[in-house]
Amino acid sequence: MANEVLKVEHLDKYYQKKHVLHDINFTISKGEVITLLGPSGSGKSTLIRCLNGLEDFRNGEITFEGKKVIPNEKNWQQLRQKIGMVFQSYDLFPNLTVLENILLGPTKVQKRNVDEVKQEVDKLLQKVDLLDYKDAYPRQLSGGQKQRIAIIRALALHPEFMLFDEVTASLDPEMVRGVLNIIQDLADEDNMTMIIVTHEMNFAQQIADRVLFLKDGNILEDTSGKEFFKNPKTDQAQEFLQSMNF
């Protein structure tokens, strides 16, 4: 496939004896947005955590931009600059200000020029209406603000590819929209390649080029977003959509 960013082949993951991901295969192309849907415990988070090396896996291969990933900590550490990830619990560093949180990766890991990065960060913060908070500490921010900062922290590294792990799941309802809008903008304006785990079905339907439906560690459907929401093929997917009132 042309412009293939990431390819996952025959990936198996076990927690001790429990087989949590079964023979996962998929590829994602440049600019494509995949949402990973499925009931709780289906392995969605585990799967995307495998894609940046936060979880190891027993069998299988991951190819990133045409190169096979040899899964060791050193390689992952390099790759994580290109694969941004944002978590459910935002996890900004409480001992650093907003600006320091964001600068850490670009200036310490990528050794880029501090002033240059600062200018860029100002623009990013402006865009999400948080420029006034750049010298604040994370505890002074609301959940939604923290999550927006966490996204910017990841974007400041200029990733090729973003992973979002239920980034709105622990936010108050009124905060959700602001965070989702940023992700939507990334898709629309920057044509960012993304895999998104979410329980926001409206959002998923709106943003997904493709849906992977996961249940009990198996990909049961791999289909276009439109097709999945209009015409789910498997009973499990129909059941799931019903359970989400969709």
């Binding site: 090396g53 990830m85 560093f93 001992n95 500490y137 990841a154």
Partner: protein, 219 residues
């Protein structure tokens, strides 16, 4: 109880007081340095050193300071290593305190939320960068209660130095009692002298703990 006797003894107690402060200070600083080094060895799991560290911690924590001091003061000279009583005391205190401080710091590092580690990894931080910018600053803050408890503990332990005849507070009191038999007066001064050191210190450390617990980074 005679105030006159107390008054006469004060110059001697003053010397003991200063010596106790001096030995405690050196011992505490030394223990913190040893503790930091040991906790880093443990955190980075440095091969060989990590094993040696485990042996050290077991010996240090599971033998009384009294016995450690006897060993340094009486057994070492037999092996050809002669040290002054004060040096033995300081080494003994650091030997003991180092392992306690190390456990305190390691506890702090381990107490940092695992999600902080993942979040640091996710922006590409190396192991060292993760430690330097995320784990250590947060871990040190978490280890302050243990640090405070250890500081108080080590100051009190200096009273054991009397067994190798270091003229600190306890030794001064016991000496005076041996000479003049005025136990009530001398023991009273002894208690007051320790209280003068420990009570204000304990209050300061509690305030520091509270500030770190409720308050927070950056203000």
């Amino acid at each position: 109880m005679s105030w006159e006797i107390i008054k006469q003894s004060l110059p001697m107690f003053q010397q003991g007081f200063l010596l106790t402060l001096y030995l405690s200070l050196i011992g505490i600083i030394g223990s913190i340095i040893v503790g930091i080094i040991c906790s880093l060895v443990e955190y980075f799991k440095i091969p060989v050193l990590n094993k040696i560290l485990k042996v050290y911690i077991e010996i240090s924590r599971n033998t009384p300071l009294l016995i450690q001091l006897f060993f340094l003061y009486y057994a070492f000279p037999a092996m050809g290593i002669k040290m002054s009583a004060q040096l033995c005391g300081i080494i003994g205190l650091i030997f003991l305190g180092g392992s306690y401080m190390s456990a305190g710091f390691s506890g702090g590092f381990n107490g940092v939320n695992k999600k902080q580690v993942e979040s640091g990894k996710a922006i590409g931080l190396s192991r060292w960068q993760l430690a330097r910018y995320v784990i250590f600053p947060q871990g040190f803050a978490l280890s302050i209660p243990a640090l405070a408890a250890n500081i108080i503990f080590l100051i009190k332990e200096t009273s054991i130095f009397t067994v190798i005849a270091i003229p600190e507070l306890t030794n001064t009191a016991l000496d005076l009692i041996g000479l003049y038999y005025n136990s009530n007066e001398y023991l009273f001064v002894l208690v007051v002298a320790y209280a003068i050191i420990l009570i204000p210190l304990s209050i300061i450390l509690t305030l520091l703990e509270r500030r770190v617990r409720y308050g927070t980074f950056g203000n």
